[in-house]
Symmetry: C2
Subunit: 343 residues, 2 copies
């Protein structure tokens, strides 16, 4: 494969090269790459801003993450935060710190993924920064979106008796990561990383090419439903429930049997000798939407494909509880990934 | 000095700790830190967005850059990009990748600098991301600002016969860096880096604690002057002139004797056996404003303290020229820092 050294283009040459085919799609993107700042037009709408920093060795491992997937995922996880405000992502800036290990072709591949995500979600790349790095790849993406004041949903509006809903299923991305890590260990030292993942495609897709729930935001709007609170599930269901309950000053009760789990997730958890509920509660990187709605909207929300009612909001003093399949009650803890791995 | 490990707070604890005293100042900052995205209100104004990625070992050296100064500078260089659009910075997001070498107190010190800059320039911290890093400190800042459509200045509007103006003086930050690098070499291996910099304070200040030219943007507005093009001088005068000329489809002629240079810069260049004009043309990190105005506004702009007319725009076919003190003519090249050092 061709390898062009980044130094042969220089910083400005590289930026020109990677951004030359951009065509701005959104009316709010007035001026993109190529000046001191981008110019956006958000008349009569609120502007939403979110940012994510992704570091090699911490957030991704290039042994098993293809650069195109990484570009796609880096963009999508930011879109997910805008959807979690019940808004629409419209622009991103993409900043990269790049060590000499990477070629111009590598960055083209990364950007292919970014542009593909932008195409799918109707987002414009409007700027960024490119820099040399001493070690590894650094990715910083800021996403800007829009929302109407009356439609924006915060984390703090959940009320006693509200229903707790979650889209899709949970824990699959985490099991996909476990699988990749296991195969990496097996293949350690071999240069050609091509294990057989047949029958586990869904887990890998959830880890390597997650999608943001644009469709759910659209369905909610079609049904005229504005959730009382919403957050995206990036750090695990427990952690996100904790954020909503803390900021809303409420408690919650969710039911183990109602937590949506895919068949492949369950099988893989079994193989790894992990409790699948723990995986679903704490796995993270699901990028599903967790939201609360008033009780009377139950029927409307139940009609939305892929949305599951998993419990309800309670008074603060009841705390955060999980009712287990056998009728027991345990306190929800936000463990995060590390403690699952260690436990 | 007290050292609190970051792990003792956790990611959310750390963010809470570092952002707990934020009070949003700007009406456009509707909701800051603490949700999936910040919410801004830019009714009837255009939104300006710029971003910078700063990596340890590439953009800064913590041997001689105090963390508080680094925080200040990281914010200010982003404000400078917004002023270069003739806009007003209003919000920033601050993302940090942090290795175990850094303590909570270190980050407090960094944030003190960020908050001080925000205080001075009327900007709100509205979000960010905090992550572990395997090596060194990674800083990614996105700045959002506002501008009125009729007031926003791009790089592409310069026209034949326009005057070329620059604020302040050039080359000082570069000489400050040379000085710090030299002393670092001298002190190599010693833990206590306290060289004597008396008489060179201005150079150090320009390198370690630069300011953005808020005042120039204000004066231009007071005088009713909207430049035809503008850019901030971060990569050196030559490089910035090249951007303006390329995007505007024009040439330029500047005069060596008119390039503003501080006395300390000249003395230090002499000591380093460097050509001071080359330093001023290619040094970078000046964060001054370079802009063009129609000829008839000459008197108005001359009245602004600290603005120097250094030449004029020409037709594209004349190229980019520097008229030397002895009446000679040389072609302007954007060398950037590295070539000065090597040359």
């Amino acid at each position: 494969m061709k390898r062009t050294e980044i130094a042969s283009l220089g910083e400005f040459g590289l930026i020109d090269h990677l951004t030359k085919n951009i065509e701005l799609k959104n009316p709010s993107s007035q001026k993109g790459v190529g000046d001191d700042a981008a110019v956006l037009s958000y008349d009569n709408k609120k502007t939403l801003v979110t940012t994510d920093l992704l570091l090699e060795g911490i957030h991704f491992d290039l042994v098993y993450v293809p650069l195109k997937h990484l570009g796609y995922k880096s963009a999508v996880v930011n879109f997910s935060d805008i959807y979690a405000m019940n808004g629409q992502p419209k622009q991103i800036t993409v900043s990269l710190g790049i060590s000499k290990r990477f070629s111009v072709e590598d960055l083209e591949t990364f950007y292919e993924g970014v542009y593909l995500a932008c195409e799918e979600y109707g987002v414009d790349v409007i700027g960024g920064d490119t820099s040399a790095s001493l070690t590894g790849l650094t990715i910083s993406i800021t996403c800007i979106g829009e929302g109407e004041e009356s439609q924006i949903v915060y984390r703090y509006g959940a009320k006693d008796t509200d229903l707790i809903c979650v889209s899709g299923d949970l824990g699959a991305a985490f099991m996909g990561l476990q699988l990749l890590e296991r195969e990496k260990t097996v293949y350690d030292g071999e240069t050609d990383f091509k294990p057989d993942f047949s029958g586990k495609e869904y887990l890998l897709e959830r880890q390597l090419k997650p999608e943001a729930r644009k469709d759910i935001v659209k369905f909610l709007r079609q049904e005229g439903v504005v959730p009382t609170s919403m957050i995206d599930v990036s750090d695990g269901l427990s952690s996100e429930l904790k954020h909503i309950c803390k900021q809303s000053g409420v408690g919650c009760r969710i039911f183990e049997e109602r937590i949506p789990i895919d068949y492949q997730t369950a099988v893989m958890a079994e193989q790894f000798n992990m409790n699948v509920t723990t995986v679903a509660l704490n796995g993270g990187e699901d990028y599903e939407l967790l939201f609360t709605i008033p009780l009377y909207l139950h029927d409307k929300v139940s009609a939305i494909k892929g949305v599951h009612v998993i419990g309800h909001i309670t008074k603060e003093e009841y705390g955060l509880l999980l009712e287990t399949r056998d009728g027991g009650e345990i306190s929800l803890k936000a463990q995060g990934w590390d403690s699952i791995k260690e436990g």
